[in-house]
Point group: C2
Chain length 81, copies 2
């Protein structure tokens, strides 16, 4: 699923994969996405890379992060940034 040798950065590939899961309805609004450590397990990446993926999703305004809780699929309400 993730190409560790291709030209596309891993953190972009992972962010795209999560975005696809959101669009597909696999991950629902107000529900948590996999934790950083879970992403590490699922995609065979290191935690720093998982964090960069989540940050990219935040910049795309697809997720919101709550310290100590986790990262959640954004809702239309979250767009008031």
């Amino acid at each position: 699923m993730i190409d560790h040798d291709g030209p596309t950065p891993l953190y972009v590939q992972v962010a795209d994969a999560i975005e696809a899961r959101i669009q597909a309805g696999d991950l629902l609004p107000n529900r948590p996405i996999p934790s950083e450590n879970q992403l590490v397990q699922e995609y065979g990446i290191v935690r720093g890379t998982a964090r960069k993926s989540i940050q990219l999703l935040r910049e795309r305004r697809l997720v919101v992060t709550v310290v100590g809780r986790g990262t959640y699929v954004a809702t239309p309400t979250d767009d008031q940034a």
Copy 2:
């Protein structure tokens, strides 16, 4: 100048310091800010921290980065993002 023990994250302190230098006219529009390695030297931080500072300045739209060249103080023209 930088408090390595205080509650404010180093990368925020460094970004604020650079922003102050921009506001003071020490760093001019279309002119480069110190490179990541120079920031490492000047502030006694690690490169990852310097990068986070620059990223924060990009989010503030105070600078623009060109791969292989460096990071430059933004001009009003750059605001067309």
